[in-house]
């Protein structure tokens, strides 16, 4: 178990209220009427009409605008700050620095650093907080922030993690702290494993640092009413922000309300509050006015997290029959200037995806003067897949076995890396590989690329990759309150955020499935600490498997109460009643059926309130999603350009809850994987300044409409998981992006014979490698 990593997604073992009572859980759904269908979102109207109020849209007539001033240096100490002339700038209401009364606060959200300050006089990375300014208009805010005079002692820096252990490089922490964390995992006997192998390969791989950059900038609006703070926050978890803000400001949870009903993308970068959150709250307090503080686009590239660069080496041994005998994986990563997950889970797939008795993984996280990492969509996994899935491709070629067949030979039914080797509730990896390959036409496609005209400068290639995601089962706590109104419509109250994955819609569908209410008659109230139920953060692909069983339990609770009322009114035992299309129907005498809005008792009560809790996960079993992705590329060997022709993705994420949003997750994950593989890379100026060079979307390229294939086919594998939870859903949002980059690299290899071990596969790198390849030949 990797406690630290898992604690991000699971609260751990503790007694939870259960409804229905243990042993009374509902049976898995058989044939469903609503669940699994392609149903448009319940909040689609709001999102396409402009009616949805995102945090950046929140405003008041007396609003002020906040901006933060960050350190312009990779490593510097602040000697002094002079705000006198800035304060005289037009429109300035307040300036906040570390010496402002009440601003000397501890910032405890840096792992391994429990005494860090909100305003740390030693800014160890570019963009670390210097000051906050609050002004009448954003234009004046930028003017005045620039007018703050800061005297810096500029210090030497280290920006390249590959050189951070070199004694000649500057260490981030004095006297000589270079390593933030090391991890070692071992099972079996590596030496013996390699001795048994017919083939041993060893390759170094690297993935560049990827930055989330959701389109809605990070930010919040802070408003005080006396000692009560309301925060509108673009976040993946309002209750977590509430806890952080209450802790830093030292005020009770009951005095902090956080609202985040709509948020414009997070991908892990909005799991936590930022220093900007506290700055906004303090500026609002100082001025007695609501303050809107959105980070500038540039700042989001510096201080809101990333997928850290991973420098990996994988040595693998295999027998000619395709049996893996040994895997030795090392990774050097960095979480930036503090320990922050720079090696988190990079080795997980090596540990757990394929059957292998002898495994060693050694991970080292070093410190550099750069912004901190945070869990970026499937932390560690796409990097690990980049190494492992390319290695699997190389091994299969060496032993003359088809890559799909090779993987099929090594599928485990239990988690090898966890203590006690718990079995998976279900693993659809075999079906993902087989059905994905069949739908893609894998064997024929491989034959075709092998036989293509050697003189054609545009070469076709196909490649594939597989994965699991180390969590994705969800779990307690979660509480849902479902209100059935007297006219048969309903209100669903849920604390969880909908990141755009379709959470709200899927929960309405669960209610619809149980109670027969059309999804568009269900109002969903969510993500507000003041008015909705406690929920954990939406991350780790756990929201659907966490919330949907609790919603189902709440609906069953409503149904039970409804039948009690109806039984008295119809003089029929409750156990003989059924609910269909807004009507209560006695099984014995269908002519006695009655519409919900005709039930006198319901009319008088006005509402039936059902409560559902998320019960515990199965004991001694593990819930993971699995996947296999296949792609075809065309490589222009004259220019080094790669065009992705098609992608087929077979995913076992348990039950498909909504086919429309399910497929959307798949195409979105693949698009983001294309970014990792081909276009995205954070560039730091290693030579002169250590600063981030790629700090906007011109210099840091996201995949655009021109970079994605027209054909992305989603193949849903439903293993009928009756043990995972009462809806059978597993996580989807993260596995969809794990094997993508590796599948592309394997396809480019298939097309060109060139193994690209470093991201991004762009024309610059590919044409260079092709030139070297030619020279070698």
């Amino acid at each position: 178990m990797k406690d630290q990593d898992e604690s991000l997604y699971y609260v751990g073992d503790f007694p939870v209220p259960e409804s229905p009572e243990p042993g009374q859980e509902p049976k898995p759904w058989g044939k469903t009427r609503v669940i699994g269908k392609p149903i448009p979102r319940v909040d689609a109207y709001e999102r396409v009409s402009g009616a949805a109020v995102y945090t950046s849209d929140v405003t008041f007539s007396d609003i002020l605008y906040g901006v933060v001033l960050g350190s312009p240096y990779a490593n510097a100490k602040v000697r002094s700050i002079d705000v006198a002339s800035a304060l005289k700038m037009p429109g300035v209401h307040a300036i906040l620095t570390g010496s402002t009364k009440g601003a000397d606060l501890v910032w405890p959200y840096v792992w391994g650093k429990d005494k860090a300050k909100l305003f740390d006089p030693h800014c160890r990375y570019e963009g670390d907080l210097i000051a906050g300014v609050c002004v009448e208009t954003p234009y004046q805010a930028w003017d005045s922030a620039r007018a703050i005079k800061v005297d810096y002692e500029v210090l030497p820096f280290v920006s390249d993690e590959r050189k951070a252990l070199d004694p000649k490089s500057k260490a981030v922490e004095a006297p000589d702290k270079r390593v933030a964390k090391t991890e070692k995992y071992e099972r079996g006997n590596l030496e013996k494993g390699f001795a048994e192998a017919d083939i041993v390969l060893e390759t170094e791989y690297r993935t560049e640092c990827q930055i989330q950059t959701p389109i809605e900038p990070h930010g919040c609006v802070a408003k005080w009413d006396g000692d009560h703070l309301t925060l509108w926050h673009s976040t993946q978890g309002v209750f977590y922000i509430q806890q952080q803000v209450a802790e830093v400001l030292g005020i009770p949870l009951s005095k902090v309300r956080v609202i985040g009903r709509y948020m414009g993308g997070g991908f892990g970068s909005k799991l936590e509050a930022g220093k900007y959150t506290i700055v906004a709250a303090l500026l609002a307090k100082m001025t007695g006015r609501p303050v809107k503080l959105l980070l500038s686009r540039e700042e989001t590239f510096l201080v809101t997290g990333n997928r850290p660069p991973s420098n990996m080496k994988l040595k693998a041994g295999v027998k000619k029959d395709g049996t893996l005998t040994a895997l030795h994986f090392t990774v050097l990563g960095t979480g930036g200037a503090y320990e922050s997950g720079g090696i988190s889970l990079t080795d997980w797939l090596v540990r757990d995806l394929y059957t292998c008795p002898n495994v060693m993984c050694e991970s080292t996280e070093v410190l550099i003067n750069a912004g901190l990492t945070c869990p970026f969509r499937a932390p560690g996994h796409p990097q690990g897949a980049w190494a492992l899935e390319q290695m699997m491709d190389s091994l299969s070629e060496k032993i003359g076995m088809d890559p799909v067949e090779f993987r099929l030979k090594n599928i485990p039914s239990f988690s090898q890396a966890r203590q006690g080797n718990p079995p998976y509730t279900t693993t659809g990896l075999k079906e993902c590989l087989e059905q994905g390959a069949k739908a893609f036409g894998w064997e024929e496609a491989r034959k075709k690329t092998a036989q293509q005209d050697k003189d054609n400068p545009v070469r076709s290639g196909v490649g594939m990759g597989a994965c699991l995601w180390f969590v994705g089962g969800g779990g307690p706590p979660s509480t849902i309150v479902l209100k059935l109104f007297a006219d048969g419509s309903a209100n669903l109250n849920m604390g969880a955020s909908d990141l755009g994955t379709g959470t709200k819609t899927i929960m309405a569908m669960v209610v619809s499935e149980e109670l027969g209410i059309k999804p568009d008659k269900i109002q969903v109230e969510n993500a507000d600490t003041g008015s909705t139920q406690f929920a954990t953060r939406s991350g780790g692909s756990k929201t659907i498997p966490t919330e949907s069983p609790a919603v189902r339990a709440a609906a069953i609770d409503v149904k039970r109460q409804l039948f009690q009322i109806a039984a008295e009114e119809l003089k029929v035992p409750a156990s003989n009643l059924a609910l269909q299309n807004g009507e209560i129907i006695p099984n014995a005498d269908q002519s006695k059926k009655v519409k919900l809005n005709k039930l006198e008792a319901l009319k008088k009560r006005g509402v039936i309130i059902g409560i559902g809790y998320r019960g515990p996960n199965p004991e001694k079993k593990w819930v993971n999603p699995f996947a296999a992705q296949f792609c075809e590329v065309k490589v222009d060997t004259r220019t080094g350009e790669v065009r992705i022709v098609r992608f087929f993705a077979a995913h076992d994420s348990g039950r498909v809850m909504n086919r429309l949003t399910y497929d959307n997750q798949v195409i979105g994950g693949i698009t983001m994987g294309i970014g990792l593989a081909m276009t995205e890379m954070r560039v730091l100026d290693h030579n002169e300044t250590g600063k981030v060079v790629s700090r906007n979307w011109h210099d840091y390229k996201l995949p655009t409409a021109l970079d994605v294939p027209w054909e992305i086919v989603s193949i849903a594998i439903d293993p009928n998981d009756t043990e995972a939870n009462t809806t059978g859903a597993k996580g989807l949002g993260e596995p969809v992006t794990i094997p993508t980059a590796a599948a592309i690299a394997n396809a480019v290899y298939n097309a060109t014979g060139i193994r690209i071990t470093n991201t991004p596969i762009n024309p610059l790198q590919l044409s260079r490698l092709m030139a070297e390849h030619k020279t070698r030949r």
């Binding site: 448009p40 979102r41 909040d43 689609a44 709001e46 999102r47 396409v48 009409s49 402009g50 949805a52 995102y54 950046s56 849209d57 405003t59 037009p90 429109g91 954003p138 234009y139 004046q140 003017d143 620039r146 007018a147 989330q212 950059t213 959701p214 389109i215 809605e216 900038p217 709509y262 948020m263 414009g264 993308g265 991908f267 959105l294 500038s296 686009r297 990141l499 755009g500 994955t501 379709g502 429309l660 497929d663 959307n664 195409i667 979105g668 994950g669 693949i670 698009t671 983001m672 906007n696 979307w697 011109h698 996201l702 995949p703 655009t704 409409a705 021109l706 994605v708 027209w710 992305i712």
Partner: protein
Amino acid sequence: MNNESDEKNGGSSGGVTRRGFFASVGAGAVVAATAGHAVAQKTAEEIIKPEDMGKITLLVNGRKHKLLVEPRWSLLFVLREKLGLNGTKVGCERGECGACTVLVDGAPQYACMILAVEAEGCSITTLEGLMNGEELGPVQQAFVEHDAFQCGYCTPGQVVAVEGLLRKNPNPTDEEIRRGVSGNLCRCGSYMHIFKAAHRAADLKRGKGGAS
């Protein structure tokens, strides 16, 4: 801009001259200068300070709005923060993401790259202007049907970009659709559904309703 205005910026401290100001904002200023509004009418030698407000009239979604604006305010800022039209989203404020795409005289443009004073005399259409009262317009309807968004934040820009494309080209090919929305980033990566929605929207606009 700070107090230390230099020669390049107009050659006098405390502000910029009209000439310097227009030189610095580039070709767009020609539109402003010919539009004949209050700010542009100032004499060539008069110094315009950042905070000097000018009176302009903006035509947005068929309604005229009289506004006092600073010359440096972007159309995006005025639409969102002064007119409350929050359908137009703020993503980068540097012409990269397209979240703030609006129609200027029918053509998609980034509202963050247009000064409010430049927009005078133009007909501006925002996402809100594509609604028929409380009913969704055809492009919006197509986006709903094909789930052409996830978080929905880039969506207003995507919808407006498709609207602009279809006004110019009612029957676009796959490739024309791709190019039509290639100036609009979607970090959730829903492009494939956006392409489908664009085709569906073209059908809807041609009066081909029915099931998609």
